[in-house]
């Protein structure tokens, strides 16, 4: 690799927190150390020091860590500055790095450099990206698990089963003159079944993990003053944590990420689906409908004291048929009613009070269930789309394989492709490895 420029970024999540970390990587680390820390740093040792600006004045006090390459995260020289978490201090520190010749890192650039310097394999690199992206505690836990290689291990055990089966099939094809019955048909069938079931379990766990990473997308709709804001605040809960708060381009759409039982939920608040009055609003509504089309679920909030309005029915009528809708009847505190979930003709209605919090737990459960979340998080894998795709491809080939139990060369082809799909996640397995397995298990050869 050619020597590259030096990159810097805030390594901790944006927002207020106890500490904030600036990470710098590249060939000009010496200048950063000289310009900010003003004392030589021993490698891989935490040093409590002052961080200084261009005039020599202290910006902050904190811990500086120097990792000379290649024994560093990126494989390049890396400097980490652990300061206090305030956004102003972090911005000043970052600007100081830029003054000294660094540039702001692109998203994922540290990881990409680590990857290009052979510090990470593809799965690990992607896990790190996931770790950085993880917006909730559970996602962070799952990201760590995948990084540790548990995901890779589970795939590996699946591959081991597949190899067992392939060994028998390939031995039958390549060594027809041996007296060994490599493959009893019933045995092969049951092994294939077991492998298929295991793959399905992994795929299921990965889908859940994918949900964890991507989060669910919820559209919140309803007439003005039915209590959308109070519902949002109520669901966000106390620990929460609005992680990001991105205003839409118009006053009509607000996106928020809240935590629902550990799953990030992107909530699009459709402030009003009224008739467009002016251009700006029409644009906003256009975006709202785009958001609705991408959503997993719509919450239609209805004032229980007034019942469903004709405007609500209009909204329902205009929704895409595939979008699942949950009716939420709010303000039961004003009615003689208890919180409840009703299922009628495929439609779900939840009775709650955003004001008192009654029924909010029921609503959370309904949401999680509606997007297919049914686990406590144990054994989940933070799979990327790439992993899911590979697993699904393997699944398709295993299904095809089951159709060809008596045409061994086609069975073999499907099993090969299934394994190749899985190897995209964990790495190579060659035909020579396969032959090695055959020779180590069976006495072959004249």
């Amino acid at each position: 690799m050619k020597p590259k420029d030096t990159i810097a970024a805030v390594a901790t999540a944006p927002g207020r927190s106890g500490i904030g970390v600036i990470r710098v990587s590249g060939p000009r680390i010496d200048r950063m150390v000289e310009g900010i820390v003003a004392e030589p740093l021993p490698p891989r040792r935490a040093v409590l020091t002052q961080f200084r600006d261009g005039a020599g004045a202290a910006i902050d006090q904190g811990i500086a860590l120097y990792f000379p390459g290649p024994r560093s995260y990126t494989g390049e020289d890396v400097l980490e500055l652990h300061g206090h978490g305030g956004p102003v201090v972090l911005r000043m520190l970052l600007e100081r790095c830029l003054e000294l010749g660094a540039r702001v890192a692109e998203p994922g650039e540290f990881t990409r450099r680590a990857f290009l310097n052979d510090k990470l394999d593809l799965a690990q690199a992607e896990s790190v990206v996931d770790l950085i992206d993880a917006t909730t505690t559970q996602a962070a836990r799952c990201a760590i698990r995948s990084l540790d290689g548990e995901f890779s291990q589970t795939i590996q055990s699946l591959i081991t089963r597949l190899v067992d089966l392939r060994v028998c099939v390939e031995a039958t094809l390549d060594f027809p003159e041996e007296e060994i019955d490599f493959l009893k048909r019933s045995d092969a069938e049951s092994r294939l079944n077991t492998t298929q079931r295991q793959l399905e379990a992994v795929l299921d766990a990965s889908r859940q993990g994918s949900l964890l990473r991507e989060g669910m997308h919820i559209v919140l709709a309803g007439q003005p003053n039915v209590g959308k804001s109070s519902l949002l605040n109520r669901m966000a809960g106390e620990e929460l944590a609005i992680v990001t708060d991105i205003p839409g381009t118009t006053r009509d759409t607000i996106r928020q990420v809240i935590d629902i039982g550990g799953v990030p939920a992107h909530v699009i608040d459709t402030a009003g689906l009224r008739d467009p009055r002016d251009l700006v609003e029409r644009l906003g509504i256009g975006r709202t409908w785009t958001a609705i089309e991408k959503a997993d679920l719509m919450l239609l909030l209805i004032d229980a004291t007034r019942g469903e309005a004709s405007a609500d029915r209009d909204i329902l009528g205009r929704l895409p048929a595939t979008l699942r809708c949950v009716r939420v009847m709010n303000k039961i505190d004003l009615l003689p009613r208890r919180a409840a979930v009703e299922h009628q003709r495929g439609a779900t209605t939840v009775w709650i009070s955003a004001k008192t919090g009654e029924g909010i737990d029921l609503l959370r459960a309904v949401l999680l269930e509606a997007v297919g979340w049914h686990s406590t998080g144990e054994g989940l894998f933070l799979a990327r789309a790439r992993h899911l795709e590979a697993l699904q491809r393997a699944q398709r080939h295993l299904r095809e394989a089951a159709q060809h139990m008596s045409e061994l060369e086609l069975l073999a082809e499907e099993l090969r492709l299934a394994q190749e799909a899985l190897a995209k996640i964990t790495g190579e397995f060659t035909s020579d490895d396969l032959l090695g397995e055959i020779f180590s298990r069976f006495c072959i050869g004249k």
């Binding site: 394999d121 041996e178 073999a412 035909s431």
Partner: protein
């Protein structure tokens, strides 16, 4: 002394690699010299007297499709022919024949002696002549210098060969032949990377001392299969069966008691033997719980009494060999005519070769056969043919021909060798070929004969026959696509008889043939479907291509996807230690192999996908600054 005759290509060695190499170069119009230490042993089958088998039969068909000698010589010498895996799909079916050693040698020698551009000379080769990094010729044992622009070395197990029987050993090229010690020493001086391998043979047995009534006969297939695309049954000599017997507990006891005098188990032999062709002592040691092993008694020929007991290859001392043979059912009174032995020999790390089988170190020098760490007549013949072709192309100033993995087993063989090297004698299996469904015996001619014609190795007779077959297949496929079967014109009973169900709508015949249980022959009996083609090879091809259609299409897509890697060339003169982003391990591996393409690099063991990404990035930038300093 300088020989007066001038040659374009010199082939050293007259085994299966050497004969195909010499014949191919000569067919391409090059003045070719074949040097052998003994004209009597041209085309010798030094191990078991059989040609073909799974994966190997595929190679033989490819050699044949490119005009080589092995398949047609086998048709003239074969005394038992079988199709292995005949009840499995066409991709894994393979032809195998027992050959009469005498007839096979005769058939090969006749081809060599009748090839117009080929000269044969009996003399061992001791040295190569070089001009800087380019080969210019060879020097024989008696100092005769021959010059040529390309030299193909096919020295088999002769390089520093050592034969072991028990703890005794002696230098030999194979039993009863002298080794090539001087040449081996000279090659070692050239600092080509060299390793040591081992292989072995069983003792031979006098057929008059075998009790066949205690064994199971294994006759050839009926009708008798034919090897060559141009062959006929009429060429076959009279046919003989093989015989099957087994080892037993007593045999295993005798072997165990002799292990203390085994050169393998006492560490006298350092070379690595093949796992798929283990000695009997190795089988009994590694699979101790197996009570009995199968042994095939293969006739060595019509005019000799010797039998080759396939399955008891051994290097145990002769007294142990004698006792173990006699412990086997049917061999109680057996007379051994030649002892079994193991042989250790030098091979050159094939990672030092390009995909044309030319050495990277010395231009114009090609290696083929066991010298590259392979085993088997078929693997040798295939490499010999390729080396001969490329030696001739180099002389003619034409681009080398490097078959791809998706084109031929020959491509798989060479790519495996040059990217992964060998850790044991390399043998072909169908599981090595990821495009197995496309690489079949039955379509070897369709895959390769046109290429062979352009290269100049396919003669007029083969070309005419091939073109006729190819055109007939295309015509029939076209007819099946354009002939529609209308349910109104096909009686329900007829549709049910042929298709197993009623025709629900109009279909072209081609679609009906893709259905799993419909054969070409049965489909042609459907009213309005005929007439069928007369040539069974054409009918077979039409049917197989229809059955595998979906798979072949999918493999084509896979091949296209990988095309980017295969077509991205890596410069020869990169010093990978200068390429940042690669781990030291990967740098070392790439520096050892110097892959020609990213595809080859990806197949080197230990080269990670991350490293391949790095290489792709650098390849885009043209590896600026990474060239070796001159």
């Amino acid at each position: 002394m300088q020989a007066t005759e001038k040659f374009d290509v010199i082939v050293v060695g007259g085994g299966h690699a050497g004969t195909e190499a010499g014949l191919a170069a000569a067919r391409m119009g090059c003045r070719t010299l074949l040097l052998t230490h003994s004209i009597e042993t041209l085309g010798q089958m030094s191990c078991n007297p059989s040609i073909g088998g799974i994966g190997k039969g595929h190679l033989v068909m490819e050699v044949d499709a490119l005009g080589g000698a092995m398949a047609s010589a086998t048709d003239e010498a074969g005394i038992q022919f079988r199709i292995l895996n005949s009840r499995k799909g066409p991709a894994v079916r393979a032809t195998r024949a027992q050959a009469d050693r005498v007839l096979y040698k005769k058939a090969i020698r006749a081809r060599l002696e009748n090839e117009p551009n080929l000269r044969i000379f009996q003399q061992a080769v001791d040295d190569l002549t070089l001009d800087a990094d380019r080969v210019t010729g060879v020097v024989t044992q008696t100092g005769i210098r021959f010059s040529a622009r390309s030299v193909v070395l096919t020295t088999g197990t002769f390089l520093s060969g050592v034969v072991h029987v028990g703890l005794q050993n002696y230098q030999a090229g194979r039993a009863a032949d002298p080794p090539a010690v001087s040449l081996a020493r000279r090659l070692r001086e050239l600092r080509l990377p060299v390793g040591r391998l081992k292989t072995g043979t069983p003792p031979r047995i006098d057929g008059r001392s075998i009790d066949f009534s205690a064994m199971t006969a294994q006759p050839g297939d009926e009708p008798t299969p034919v090897f060559s695309f141009l062959g006929t049954r009429g060429q076959h000599p009279p046919q003989l069966p093989c015989w099957i017997t087994h080892t037993n507990a007593k045999t295993h006891g005798i072997i165990r008691s002799g292990l203390d005098r085994s050169p393998m188990f006492t560490g006298v032999i350092e070379g690595v033997g093949p796992r798929y062709c283990p000695s009997i002592e190795d089988k009994i040691h590694r699979f101790a719980d197996k009570q009995s092993h199968q042994i095939f008694l293969e006739p060595e020929g019509l005019t000799v009494n010797e039998f080759y007991p396939n399955g008891i290859s051994t290097s145990l001392p002769f007294d142990v060999q004698h006792a173990l043979v006699r412990s086997i059912r049917g061999l109680e009174c057996a007379h051994i005519t030649r002892p079994g032995y193991a042989i250790e020999y030098d091979y050159f790390d094939p990672r030092g070769l390009t995909s044309s089988l030319e050495t990277k170190a010395i231009a114009g020098l090609f290696f083929a056969g066991q010298i590259n760490g392979t085993t088997g007549y078929e693997e040798a013949a295939a490499q010999g043919l390729l080396a001969g072709i490329n030696a001739a192309l180099a002389v003619q100033g034409r681009d080398a021909w490097c078959p791809r993995r998706d084109q031929a087993y020959l491509g798989v063989l060479v790519d495996d060798l040059i990217t992964r090297g060998v850790s044991e004698p390399y043998r072909m299996f169908t599981s090595r070929a990821e495009y197995r469904l496309s690489l079949r015996e039955d379509n070897a001619d369709l895959r390769l004969t046109e290429i062979g014609r352009r290269l100049g190795v396919v003669d007029e007779r083969r070309w005419t026959a091939f073109a006729r077959k190819r055109d007939a297949i295309e015509r029939e496929q076209e007819r099946l696509k354009s002939t529609w079967v209308n349910p109104k014109r096909v009686p329900v009973a007829e549709a049910e008889r042929v298709l197993g169900q009623e025709l629900e709508r109009e279909y072209p015949l081609a679609d009906l043939l893709r259905r799993p249980d419909v054969t070409y022959v049965s489909l042609m009996t459907l009213p309005g479907a005929g007439p069928a083609v007369a040539d069974p090879q054409v009918a077979e091809q039409v049917e197989i291509q229809a059955k595998y259609h979906g798979y072949i299409e999918r493999q084509k897509e896979e091949i296209e996807r990988n095309g980017q890697y295969e077509n991205t060339r890596l410069p020869r003169d990169i010093d990978y230690t200068n390429v940042r982003g690669l781990s030291v391990e990967v740098q070392q591996k790439l520096n050892r192999v110097h892959p020609e393409t990213i595809g080859q690099a990806a197949r080197i063991s230990g080269v990670t996908p991350a490293a391949i990404s790095v290489l792709l990035v650098h390849a885009k930038r043209g590896f600026a600054g990474h060239k070796k300093s001159a």
